[in-house]
């Protein structure tokens, strides 16, 4: 469904991603692991053409996105939840979710009540403004907003950062349920290996802007050297 081939990305003169290849099949769930500064965020932003200067092929359902702007990519079914959350401060939680339906375009998005049921933490907060939320609450809003348009592929950038362990478990369960129910593909960038393993079937490791490993979690487990070398755990 989502195919990235030979992706190079630049910030100004600095070359960050070097020929990244990656695929996410329909309803496939994939993790990207890597150290700080290895290029995970850059990869996510590049796929949405939202920042870095990019060269290479990014295809969604076989159609090359070429140099479509990010709003068009969002409408074609890519949904990015950025690592800094970015819920809209002047909108209520409900409106934060509803505004994301713009990205549904001609498809129909999800029903807001259903999404709220999946993230019970948000239920009592629907009338609060984005500016009145804690960091963890904002993270939930951002994730919920990300699934609202019912994307073909959801790109989650370190969603567990700053969340309490209980909440992390809740989030993992909610995510898997939503993705299964609505056939949403997932590209997840994480530091939390437990979370990544729970949510996804395959894993890529990125180091200095290059994919250095790809395979199933079993393959990952059978290569302790990889884990040691690139994740330093």
């Amino acid at each position: 469904m989502l195919e990235v081939a030979g992706l190079n990305a630049f910030y100004g003169d600095s070359h960050i991603l070097h020929g990244v290849d990656l695929t996410v099949d329909t309803s496939d769930r994939v993790s990207v692991l890597g150290r700080n500064g290895s290029g995970k965020t850059t990869l996510m932003k590049s796929i949405l053409n939202a920042g870095p200067r990019i060269y290479g092929r990014i295809c969604l359902d076989g159609a090359d996105l070429a140099d479509e702007p990010s709003f068009q990519r969002a409408r074609s079914g890519l949904s990015l939840v950025p690592e800094d959350r970015r819920s809209f401060p002047h909108l209520t939680v409900r409106d934060n979710l509803l505004i994301a339906l713009t990205a549904a375009g001609k498809r129909t998005g999800l029903d807001i009540e259903q999404v709220l049921d999946t993230f019970p933490m948000l239920k009592p907060l629907t009338a609060r403004y984005g500016s009145q939320l804690s960091g963890g609450q904002q993270q939930m809003v951002a994730v919920a907003r990300g699934v609202m348009p019912r994307p073909r592929c959801l790109l989650l950038d370190e969603p567990t950062e700053g969340l309490a362990p209980v909440i992390v478990r809740q989030l993992a369960a909610s995510l898997v349920r939503l993705c299964d129910e609505f056939n949403i593909g997932l590209l997840l960038s994480e530091q939390n290996i437990w979370f990544a393993r729970f949510c996804t079937q395959r894993v890529y490791i990125i180091e200095n802007g290059r994919i250095v490993f790809s395979g199933s979690w079993d393959e990952f487990d059978s290569r302790p050297d990889v884990k040691h070398l690139y994740l330093a755990v």
Partner: protein
């Protein structure tokens, strides 16, 4: 009774201003561009409506239809400008986008003069609105009621659209976070275009509706420009409600001015504005979470101005300087009088621009009132020369230097402490306007006409006496004085203090951490800059032999900005190059009313859009200096560590 009438009038003024300010605040809220040209678009709207209905509209409907048509014309213009200019301005720094809209202002004013001429026209209100409505002893002109009604209506419409509609939610989402808005599928470019079109439609319509009862001339842009800025600043930039409240406050202040200080119209507003800025530099409604889209943040600090580069090739600079000075020195032998006169002005303007760039390029402070210091020096020296006090000329010049320094110290001490960014810009602009108005209404200083017939002095050094009475002699003196000042400034900027300034400019936060008193360095720059600007004024008075209040006007304040940015603010010599180019353009187009503004404005706009580093930046982009900026950056950061 009289109080009621004055306040009612004030309210009318306030609502007229709101009609213009609404567009400024809409555009700022979305695009973060402070559109200085808005007053000129208002003027064009008025002229378009005038072309449709002539001087005597016979019914209110005709006036309204003409206003709507001119709104549509302006909306089309907005569409065009959005694609060609505004869209590009989103990617460059605030200060540059200010300059770009100033360039638009020049172009618009020039085009207006070319199309509609420079004569005054006056349009009367349609009969239905020409009378008055009586309430017992109180009567209100119908036209005023019409305007107040329109102002309130416009406010309500905007308020509902922006704050109570789903479109408004999208618009405000973009205002807060355009990047994220794009990611949730919003076509931000299209919304930007719509907002610009709406703002232009509003201002075109305002031009038509406010057409009666005012004199239509190419100066119309000015009458609303400053006031609508004040309103927008008071309200908190980008905030419609704030602008509305600000407009009412400003109108009432004008009314009070009429009662309290009838001799000096318009001055109270500036005094109150200054107090206001010192009290609340970010406006009435600044909290970003509520509905203020734009914070009046820092102008220069967020700027990606190229690092101020010390001339590496010292030899080259010396050769170029000697060459330039020799050519200038030879000019009295071959240039005609008119040209020589302009070159003399250009030299003074270059010094003024150098002093402004000490603030902008080195200290990271953007001020809009630099001409006030210039006028201070010019009036000081001009006045005393006319009095034939016998005080030696060099003493006069030194005193103007001291006067400028003292004034700058007082202003800077308070202003730098309390404000930064746009607030500082508007504060200095207001001080300049106060000075101009004060001069305008001071008979001792010649009021509107200024001081004319200023004699040129002689310099008596005991052994030798220089008689500067002739044009030629004073020109040489001017050249010598300007060169000395420029060299002195240059050695300051490459000296230890100047290097710290550049370092502060690049990394003020880090400097703060290192325990450097950023404010004190900035104040030093402010004082030096003010002193030199005053000296430039003092030097110019005997050259022009006349000083007028225009010397203090904000239009004159923009001249050093234009010269600096044209030449390249990242280069010490940039302002001089800019002044030279500008004078050349002015000289070449001087006989063509309107065209000179169009040409200057057009060039300026091109520079800002295509080469934001100025002419010198353009040169160095291709040359070996490409990497100097980066090298320089490292060395100045080390500088901070050294002194820290």
């Amino acid at each position: 009774m009289q109080i009621g009438f004055a306040l009612f009038n004030g309210l009318t003024v306030g609502m007229s201003i709101f009609l213009v300010a609404a567009g400024i605040t809409l555009i700022f809220g979305m695009l973060k561009i402070l559109n200085i040209a808005h007053g000129s678009f208002f003027m064009i709207g008025a002229y378009v409506a005038y072309s449709i209905i002539g001087t005597d509209p016979d019914s209110t409907w005709k006036l309204v239809v003409a206003a709507i048509l001119s709104g549509l014309v302006l909306a089309a213009l907005g569409l065009l400008l959005n694609a060609s200019v505004f869209q590009r301005l989103r990617n460059i720094g605030e200060a540059y986008s200010l300059i770009a809209t100033f360039a638009l202002l020049m172009i618009c004013n020039g085009v207006t003069k070319i199309i509609w001429g420079v004569n005054y026209h006056s349009v009367s209100a349609p009969d239905a609105l020409a009378g008055a409505v009586m309430y017992g002893r109180f009567f209100a002109p119908s036209y005023s009621l019409f305007i107040i009604g329109l102002g309130v209506l416009t406010f309500l419409v905007l308020e509902i659209v922006v704050h109570r509609s789903s479109v408004g939610k999208v618009v405000r989402a973009i205002a807060h976070d355009p990047w994220m808005a794009n990611l949730v599928g919003i076509n931000t470019s299209r919304i930007y275009a719509l907002v610009v079109i709406a703002a232009f439609f509003c201002v075109g319509m305002a031009g038509g509706l406010l057409l009666p009862n005012q004199s239509l001339s190419p100066l119309l842009f000015e009458s609303y420009l400053l006031q609508s800025f004040i309103v927008v600043i008071i309200g908190g930039l980008g905030n419609i409600r704030g602008a509305f409240v600000g407009a009412i406050m400003l109108g009432l202040t004008e009314g009070a001015n009429f009662l309290v200080l009838p001799d000096i119209p318009g001055i109270l507003v500036y005094i109150i504005l200054i107090g206001f800025l010192l009290w609340r530099p970010y406006g009435l409604f600044p909290q970003p979470g509520a509905d203020t889209a734009g914070q009046a943040g820092s102008l220069a600090e967020t700027e990606d101005v190229p690092a101020t580069t010390p001339p590496k090739a010292l030899l080259g600079s010396v050769v170029a300087t000697v060459l330039a000075v020799s050519v200038l020195a030879s000019m009295p032998f071959w240039a005609n009088a008119g040209f020589l006169f302009i070159i003399g002005f250009a030299m003074v303007e270059a010094v003024l621009a150098l002093s402004w760039n000490l603030l902008f390029g080195y200290a990271g402070l953007t001020t809009f009132g630099h001409a006030a210091f210039f006028a201070l020096g010019a009036y000081f020296v001009g006045f005393l020369l006319r009095q034939e006090t016998g005080i030696p000329f060099l003493v006069l010049l030194s005193s103007s230097l001291v006067l400028g320094a003292l004034t700058a110290f007082f202003v800077g001490f308070i202003a730098i402490r309390r404000t930064s960014g746009i607030a500082l810009g508007i504060l200095t602009l207001s001080l300049g306007e106060i000075l101009r108005r004060a001069i305008n209404y001071s008979p001792a200083l010649g009021s509107d006409d200024g001081l004319s017939g200023i004699p040129r002095p002689r310099i008596d050094l005991g052994l030798i006496v220089f008689d500067l009475g002739s044009e030629r002699a004073y020109f040489w003196f001017l050249l010598a004085a300007c060169s000395v000042v420029a060299l002195a400034l240059w050695s300051f900027t490459v000296g230890p203090k100047g290097r710290v300034l550049v370092a502060l400019r690049q990394d003020p936060i880090r400097a703060e951490f290192l325990g450097i008193n950023v404010r004190r360095y900035r104040l030093t720059a402010f004082v030096i800059s003010g002193a030199i600007a005053a000296l430039a004024g003092g030097l110019q008075a005997p050259w022009a032999q006349i000083v007028t209040p225009e010397a203090a006007s904000y239009l004159h304040s923009t001249q050093p900005m234009l010269n600096t940015l044209l030449g390249g603010s990242g280069f010490f010599w940039g302002p001089i190059v800019g002044s030279a180019i500008f004078s050349g353009i002015n000289y070449a187009t001087r006989t063509l009313a309107g065209l000179s503004e169009v040409v200057s404005g057009g060039i300026l706009l091109l520079i800002v859009l295509a080469a934001p580093g100025g002419v010198l930046g353009l040169g160095s982009r291709f040359g070996r200096m490409k990497h100097v900026g980066a090298l320089h950056k490292r060395s100045t950061v080390n500088e901070l560590t050294r002194i820290g």
